[in-house]
C-alpha cells in the first residue's frame, strides 16, 4: 500500500515539477529590460537664455533665466557663491558687476544628465551721454584739424562749409575777426551760404553759439538757422525744416562782433544742419561752438 501510494504521489509531483520548470521559459517575456530594450533616442539637452532686469535702482543686478532644455524632468541651477535652485525658470540677483558663470544641469528619470554653462557679463547700464558734435573749421582757420576730408581738401577754412546746391561758397576775411586770424565773409549780394551737418542725440537740448558783425550800410541782416536732418539740396525746402534760427540785424559797428546763443531741441532727429545766409549788407560770422544742455 505504501509503495503504491508513493508511486501515485511521486508521479504527479514529478509532472508538476516538470511542467513548472518548462513553463518558466514563458516567464522570460515578463523579465525587465535586457537585450530587447531600445536606447533612449532623445536624451536630455540643457540650454537656457537670460535677460537683465530693467528699471530704476539696483534692478540691473536681477537676471531672469528662461529654461530651454528638452527631454528633461529635473533641473539644477548653480549660481555665483554656491547658490542653487531647482526651479524651471529661476531669477537670481548678482552681487554687482563682473563675469559670472551659471551652470544648468538637466536630467531625466533615467538619470542621464546634460550640462550647459554660460559666462554672463553683468554691467550696470549707463545713461547714454548726449552726443556733443564737433564743428569742423569752427573758426574758419586754415588747416583746421579734421578738415582734410572736406570739399577739395584744401583746408582753407571753408571747405567744410560748402553746399553748392544751396548757394555759393563763402569768402574768407582776415579783418576784422572775432577769434583767430580768419572769419567767414558774406558779400551783400546774399548769394553765399555756409552749411554743415552735425550728428546729435535725439530729443536733447543744445545751445549753438556764434559771433557776427554787419557793415553799417546798406540795410541788411545775417541769419543762422538750425535745420532738422541733413542732405539738404533745395534752399526753400531746407529753410522749411528750420528748428530754430536767429536773424542778426545789429549794424551799429562794422568792427565789433556780437555774440548770439541759439538754444534748440533736436526732437526726432539724429542729424541737424547749420545754415548761414545773409541779405542786403556784407556780413561776417566767426567762432561757432555747440554744447549740450
Amino acid at each position: 500500500m505504501k509503495k503504491q501510494f508513493k508511486n501515485i504521489i511521486w508521479l504527479p509531483v514529478y509532472a508538476i515539477i516538470a511542467f513548472t520548470v518548462q513553463s518558466c521559459d514563458d516567464f522570460e517575456q515578463f523579465e525587465p529590460a535586457g537585450a530587447n530594450s531600445k536606447a533612449d533616442e532623445t536624451p536630455p539637452m540643457a540650454s537656457f537664455s537670460y535677460s537683465q532686469g530693467q528699471g530704476e535702482g539696483e534692478v540691473w543686478k536681477d537676471y531672469s533665466f528662461a529654461n530651454l532644455s528638452t527631454s528633461a524632468t529635473t533641473y539644477l541651477w548653480e549660481f555665483e557663491g554656491g547658490t542653487t535652485s531647482s526651479d524651471v525658470d529661476p531669477t537670481f540677483t548678482f552681487p554687482g558687476e563682473g563675469m559670472f558663470t551659471v551652470t544648468l544641469t538637466a536630467s531625466d528619470a533615467l538619470g542621464v544628465e546634460s550640462v550647459f554653462s554660460e559666462i554672463i557679463e553683468v554691467v550696470e547700464p549707463e545713461e547714454p551721454e548726449a552726443i556733443v558734435p564737433t564743428i569742423l573749421e569752427q573758426s574758419f582757420e586754415d588747416n583746421s584739424p579734421g578738415s582734410e576730408d572736406c570739399g577739395d581738401g584744401n583746408m582753407d577754412g571753408r571747405d567744410c562749409w560748402r553746399n553748392s546746391n544751396l548757394g555759393g561758397v563763402i569768402q574768407i576775411t582776415n579783418s576784422p575777426t572775432q577769434d583767430g586770424s580768419q572769419a567767414s565773409k558774406y558779400p551783400s549780394a546774399g548769394d553765399r551760404i555756409a552749411y554743415q551737418e552735425l550728428t546729435v542725440s535725439p530729443n536733447t537740448d543744445y545751445k549753438l553759439t556764434y559771433y557776427y558783425t554787419l557793415k553799417t550800410s546798406p540795410v541788411g541782416s545775417v541769419t543762422v538757422s538750425v535745420l532738422a536732418g541733413g542732405g539738404h539740396i533745395d534752399l526753400s525746402a531746407a529753410l522749411a525744416t528750420t528748428l530754430e534760427d536767429f536773424e542778426g540785424t545789429d549794424q551799429s559797428s562794422s568792427n565789433d562782433y556780437i555774440k548770439v546763443d541759439i538754444p534748440f531741441n533736436t526732437g526726432a532727429n539724429n542729424t541737424v544742419s547749420i545754415l548761414v545766409t545773409n541779405q542786403g549788407a556784407e556780413a561776417r560770422v566767426d567762432n561757432f561752438s555747440i554744447a549740450a544742455d
Binding site: Q54, L68, T91
Partner: protein, 478 residues
C-alpha cells in the same frame, strides 16, 4: 451615282479631313465663362478691387460656431488677453482654459484656427500682388500698398505669437511643401514686414478707416520698430507723422467704442450687425450668450489696476455680471443695452453683433510716441513725451504726470488701463521685457504653471502632421 460609289472612299477621306481640320482646340473644350476660377478671374481693375475687399473679409473671419471655419480676428483675444494678466475664462471650461493656466496643447483648436485664418489672409494678399499687372498706372501704387499693408499686419501678428514661421510671399500650391513647412527666423519675417509697410506708406492715403491707410501703416511700422527695439528715432518720426494727420482723441472715452469710425480710430475691422458680416466675440464675452459660458472675463489683477489708475475709463472698461455678481465682464464691445452706462442696443441677435474691432487708435499712437522717445531707457523727461502722455491722462480725467518724468512702469500701467481688453497687454509686456516677471508672479498667484517658453504659442499640431515632420515645434511643447 456610280461615280459617287466609285469615289466613296476618297469622299470619306475628304469628309474626315475637313472634320479634323475644322475643329479648333477651343471648340471641344471652351473656357468656362459661367463659372469663375482663379486662373481666369482677374481681368480688370474692378476684379482687383474685389480681391482687396476679400482680404478684409478674411480678417473679419466667419461668424459661426463650427470649429473648422476660419474665425481670424474674432478669436484673437484668446491668444492675447487671456494669456496675459487681464482676462480669463469665467468657469475654466474647455480648451479655452488652457490659455490662462499656461498649459496650451499643440492640439488646441483655437491656436490652429488663428494660424490658418491669417495664413489665408496672407494668401488673399498674395493673390492681389500676383495679379497687380492689370492695375492702371495711377492706382497701382495704392493697390500694392493696401495688399502689402494687410500682409504685413498678418505676419506681424503671426510672428509675435508663434515665433519662427513659414514665410510665403507668392501664391503657392499644395505641392510647394518646402516653402510651406520651412520655419524662417523672426528677423527675416520682420524685414519683410518693414519693407511691406514702407511700400504701403508710400502708396496709401488717409481716406479710409476700415481699409489700409497711410496713417495705419505708419502706426503699425512704429509698433514694429518698438517691438524690435531699434530705429527709435524713426518710430518717433512715424508717430509724429500720424499726430499731424488730423486724428484726435474723443473727449468721452465711451465714444471711442460706441461711435463708429470716430476721430480716434485709425484702423478698424468693420462688422455689420444681424448679417453674415457680423461677429460673435461680443456675445462670447457675456454670460452664456455665445457658445461658451463666458470668456474674456476680467481678472482681479486688472480690476485693481483699473480702479487705481483708470480714472473715468474704468466704468467703460469693466462692469459687474448681473447674472453672476462675483464675476466682471468687459464693457468696450457690448452688443446689448446697458442703461447705467448709457449704451443703447444695436442688434437683435447678440451673437451677430456689429461692433467694429479697433486695431489701431490715436491714444495708442500717443503712448507709442512716449515709448519711442524713451528709446529703451528707464524713463524720460522730454517735453514732447510729457505732452503726449498728458493728452491721454487729461482725457481720462486724471492729472498729467506729477514729477515731470515718465518711468517705464508708469507707461506700461497707462497702456494697460487705456488699452485694456483691446489685445495689446501681452505684446506690451513682451516688448517692455516684463513678461516673464509679471506673468510668473501672476501665474503663481492664480494657480497656473507659467514657464518662459509659454511666451510663444505652439505650432498647431495639424500643421506639423501635414508637414510630415518637416515643421519643428516650439520649445516647451511636445
Amino acid at each position: 451615282m456610280k461615280n459617287i460609289i466609285k469615289h466613296i472612299n476618297k469622299l470619306n477621306l475628304l469628309v474626315i479631313a475637313i472634320a479634323l481640320f475644322s475643329c479648333s482646340d477651343d471648340f471641344l473644350s471652351p473656357p468656362p465663362n459661367s463659372v469663375l476660377n482663379a486662373a481666369t478671374f482677374f481681368e480688370t481693375e474692378a476684379d482687383l478691387e474685389a480681391a482687396l475687399v476679400n482680404m478684409y473679409d478674411g480678417i473679419q473671419g466667419v461668424n459661426s460656431t463650427d470649429s473648422n471655419d476660419n474665425h481670424a480676428i474674432q478669436v484673437e483675444f484668446y491668444l492675447t488677453e487671456m494669456r496675459s494678466d487681464n482676462t480669463r475664462t469665467k468657469s475654466s471650461e474647455g480648451e479655452a482654459a488652457q490659455f490662462e493656466s499656461y498649459t496650451i496643447q499643440p492640439t488646441n483648436g483655437i491656436v490652429d484656427d488663428y494660424y490658418r485664418s491669417f495664413y489665408n489672409v496672407i494668401f488673399r494678399a498674395n493673390t492681389v500682388l500676383a495679379n497687380l499687372d492689370i492695375a492702371t498706372s495711377e492706382n497701382r501704387a495704392k493697390i500694392e500698398g493696401e495688399a502689402k499693408f494687410v500682409r504685413a499686419y498678418a505676419y506681424f501678428n503671426l510672428v509675435r505669437l508663434y515665433g519662427d514661421i513659414p514665410l510665403i510671399t507668392s501664391v503657392i500650391s499644395t505641392g510647394d511643401t518646402d516653402v510651406q513647412f520651412t520655419r524662417v527666423a523672426t528677423s527675416n519675417v520682420y524685414d519683410l514686414i518693414e519693407t511691406d509697410l514702407l511700400t504701403a506708406i508710400g502708396g496709401l492715403d488717409n481716406s479710409s478707416k476700415l481699409r489700409g491707410s497711410k496713417a495705419a501703416a505708419q502706426a503699425l511700422l512704429a509698433k514694429v520698430y518698438l517691438t524690435r527695439g531699434a530705429n527709435y528715432t524713426e518710430a518717433q518720426q512715424l508717430c509724429e507723422a500720424v499726430m499731424g494727420s488730423g486724428f484726435m482723441l474723443q473727449p468721452n472715452f465711451k465714444d471711442v467704442f460706441y461711435n463708429e469710425l470716430n476721430s480716434e480710430i485709425i484702423f478698424a475691422i468693420g462688422y455689420q450687425e444681424d448679417s453674415a458680416d457680423s461677429q460673435n466675440f461680443s456675445a462670447e464675452w457675456l454670460n452664456a450668450v455665445g457658445r461658451t459660458s463666458g470668456v474674456n472675463y476680467t481678472t482681479a489683477d486688472v480690476r485693481t489696476v483699473l480702479n487705481d489708475l483708470g480714472g473715468n475709463r474704468t466704468p467703460y472698461s469693466y462692469r459687474v455680471d448681473t447674472d453672476q455678481p462675483t464675476q466682471f465682464q468687459v464693457v468696450k464691445y457690448l452688443p446689448e443695452e446697458d442703461t447705467a452706462l448709457g449704451i443703447t442696443s444695436t442688434v437683435t441677435d447678440r451673437t451677430k453683433a456689429g461692433n467694429d474691432w479697433i486695431v489701431l487708435r490715436y491714444a495708442d499712437v500717443l503712448l507709442m510716441h512716449v515709448e519711442a522717445i524713451m528709446a529703451g531707457g528707464n524713463d524720460t523727461s522730454v517735453q514732447a513725451a510729457l505732452d503726449s502722455f498728458e493728452l491721454v491722462r487729461l482725457r481720462a480725467g486724471l492729472l498729467a504726470d506729477d514729477d515731470g518724468t515718465i518711468t517705464k512702469q508708469e507707461l506700461l500701467d497707462e497702456r494697460r488701463v487705456e488699452l485694456a481688453f483691446e489685445n495689446h497687454r501681452l505684446f506690451d509686456l513682451i516688448r517692455f521685457n516684463e513678461a516673464q516677471n509679471v506673468l510668473s508672479a501672476f501665474s503663481t498667484a492664480t494657480g497656473g504653471s507659467f514657464n518662459a517658453t509659454d511666451l510663444l504659442l505652439p505650432i498647431p499640431q495639424r500643421e506639423i502632421n501635414l508637414s510630415l515632420g518637416q515643421l519643428t515645434q516650439n520649445q516647451g511643447y511636445n
